[in-house]
């Protein structure tokens, strides 16, 4: 039982706080990541089974503590267990943190924390120059501003490996990029640029899934032509003078691409979420949000003023429990029924590489008559046979999703976001959404980039280039993931997701990995604490259709070398299906504001 607890609760992390600002600006403070003590799970036997299905043969696998399990045959095919909801195998498994690694990681953080206290002490007594923000003289007697853990972490842990983040690049972020060389003479407090450029770094970090981020080719030419015709700026909003013929054309195309009645486009993906959710729900409504939702969704949910409840990542039991409780109990105190219940999920989760269990979410949504808001930022273009996103991936009907949101920043290599859905919804948003009324509309060359790339994916340009890109991406993803798994890395997520998180765990390895890879001319994104649980630091690769097999092979070869140097091959080939990850019962009353 003790063992179950320690390992089960994702390495016994006392608090899973993901709120934060530092290492990766992508996921700041989350409503989805409220600090909440992780309770140990209940009795192992009484642990509710995934969707009521019994995983025959894997009953004891949950804690990864079955010895002598056959090494490879641990893939879990949920297709067999979900009453035919899935039309394809859904292989999503997460390997547990090995015990020794977890302990060593905590030791590392322990050492860093001790030295952090020492340095803080030296700074306070003015033995050492204080570089970070501190209170002014007049504020000295007030509540301290920079004493919380996040600030401590920023100045004493993050600062030491800060050189692996925010590196400026100076070329188009295609398969290879040029980076500006940067030096620090004071241990990362300040940087100076040497003026040299590191040429042809292999780019494993950009969200350029289909390879449309280019400065040559049809998209660029079309955009350049439109630029000479319309100029770059629009200088007005959609409701005033900023409604071009191009906008109308783009919205028609997006609607056709998604297979929905109507669509609306916005100048920024982030604000599409954060400004439209408040237009859709308000006081007296309930938002059910995945715990790992993107910051934009979290912000939108908070701005809306609706009550927010968090369900465990991709955990349908947790979602169903919340839905049921919401209907049974109604609003707190008054016990009136909720006006609307909106479920917020993402297509591909950008930190875990997991794909939402959309068939089950839709089944639940229909059963409990709630609404579904699907953020396809990473999945549009990247999933499905013809790049239509998760809905196509699972072979579902787009009309079952009430709000289809997505961005043009990733697969289309442009900027902006869209919302698709029923005509009434879009008409309502046109008049009520802040980013339609107050924000400047999309710039014409950007729109042209989207139009051309989208037509290309749809095959309307008369070539099969777009389709080949989608297939190439799927192939690259499978190849890259398979090879990494064979090499013995712990990687997270669905085997079809082009986002590939590779676990690093120890804090020193975050910095070492970024530096070693850059030394070998490969640019990677490493992710640390505020964006992930403190122990699960990782590197995140984004596979692209622009990567050729040779490029991927070079990356894999170098990765192999770096992994031997840093001892990163943690995997013991014991997979735990996501559904069976520990699930602390979030009771309804407990999460009340």
């Amino acid at each position: 039982m003790t063992r179950t607890r320690v390992i089960g609760s994702r390495v016994g992390l006392g608090f899973r706080c993901r709120a934060g600002v530092v290492a990766d600006p992508k996921r700041p403070e989350g409503a989805g990541r409220m600090e909440r003590p992780e309770q140990g799970l209940g009795e192992p036997d009484s642990h509710p089974r995934a969707n009521g299905c019994s995983l025959t043969g894997y009953g004891a696998l949950r804690n990864g503590y079955v010895r002598g399990l056959p090494e490879t045959e641990t893939e879990i095919h949920h297709i067999a267990h979900n009453g035919g909801l899935y039309k394809r195998p859904f292989n999503e498994a997460f390997e547990e943190t090995p015990m020794l690694v977890a302990v060593l990681t905590y030791v590392g953080y322990g050492v860093l924390t001790l030295f952090g206290y020492l340095r803080d002490f030296l700074r306070q007594w003015k033995i050492e120059k204080c570089n970070h923000a501190s209170e002014r003289e007049e504020q000295k007697d007030f509540v301290p501003l920079y004493q919380d853990f996040e600030n401590f972490y920023t100045r004493n842990l993050y600062m030491r490996i800060r050189d692996s983040w925010n590196r400026p690049i100076c070329s188009v972020p295609g398969a290879k990029v040029d980076m500006m060389e940067r030096l620090s003479h004071d241990y990362n407090w300040t940087f100076t640029y040497t003026g040299r450029v590191i040429k042809d770094v292999i780019n494993m970090g950009s969200y350029n899934y289909l390879g449309f981020a280019q400065n040559t080719g049809i998209c660029k030419e079309a955009a350049a032509k439109v630029l000479t015709q319309y100029g770059a700026g629009v200088c007005s909003t959609r409701q005033e003078m900023g409604n071009l013929d191009k906008h109308e054309e783009l919205e028609k195309l997006v609607a056709r691409f998604l297979g929905v009645e109507a669509a609306m486009t916005y100048g920024m993906g982030f604000s599409t979420n954060s400004m439209n959710i408040p237009a859709l729900v308000g006081k007296g409504c309930l938002i059910l949000s995945d715990e790992l939702n993107h910051a934009s969704l979290v912000l939108g949910a908070r701005l809306s003023g609706a009550t927010i409840r968090i369900f465990k990542h991709n955990n349908m039991q947790s979602l169903e429990k919340l839905l049921r409780d919401a209907i049974v109990h109604g609003q707190p105190r008054t016990r009136r029924p909720w006006k609307k219940i909106l479920i917020l999920v993402e297509g591909i989760y950008s930190m875990e590489g997991s794909i939402v269990r959309l068939p089950e979410v839709i089944a639940l949504k229909k059963k409990y008559k709630s609404y579904l808001y699907l953020d396809e930022a990473h999945s549009i273009g990247a999933l499905g046979l013809t790049g239509r996103g998760v809905v196509e991936y699972f072979g579902l009907n787009p009309e079952d999703v009430d709000v289809m949101m997505g961005t043009f920043t990733k697969s289309f290599g442009a900027a902006g976001g869209y919302i698709g859905g029923k005509k009434e919804l879009i008409d309502y948003l046109r008049t009520h959404s802040h980013s339609a009324v107050y924000a400047t509309s999309l710039s014409p060359p950007v729109m042209e980039q989207i139009l051309t790339s989208m037509k290309c994916i749809m095959g309307e340009d008369g070539t099969t280039f777009g389709k080949e890109c989608v297939q190439q991406l799927a192939e690259n993803t499978r190849y890259f993931r398979r090879r990494l798994k064979e090499m013995g890395f712990i990687i997270y997520g669905n085997e079809d997701s082009p986002v590939v998180p590779l676990m690093l765990y120890m804090p020193a390895k975050i910095g070492a990995f970024g530096r070693e890879m850059l030394k070998r001319n490969i640019g990677v994104v490493v992710v640390g604490f505020p964006a992930t649980p403190i122990i699960e630091s990782r590197a995140r690769f984004c596979v692209s259709a622009a990567h050729t097999k040779e490029i991927l092979d070079i990356v894999l070869k170098e990765l192999d070398e770096v992994a031997d140097l840093l001892q990163l091959k943690y995997s013991r080939h014991r997979l735990v299906p996501l559904l069976d990850r520990p699930f602390d019962e979030t009771t309804y009353e407990e999460t009340e504001d």
Binding site: G108, Y109, V111, F115, R160, M506, P507, A508, K509, A512
Partner: protein, 72 residues
Amino acid sequence: MDIKHAKDYLYWLYYQYLLVTCCYVLEPWEQSMFHTIFITVFAMVVYTAYVFIPIHIHLAFEFFSHIYDDSW
């Protein structure tokens, strides 16, 4: 050849020690401080073990042989 191999291996071990203890990201003066503390503690543990374990084993041995002597 072999010596080079051994040297490489030792360096690799040292590198692992740096990574696991997070010495890797410390500044040089912090590193030397950490090494000093680590070596001191380690040396003391080894020394204590060397001094006390034989004594304890000896005592335990005597204790048990006593018990067995009595019971027989």
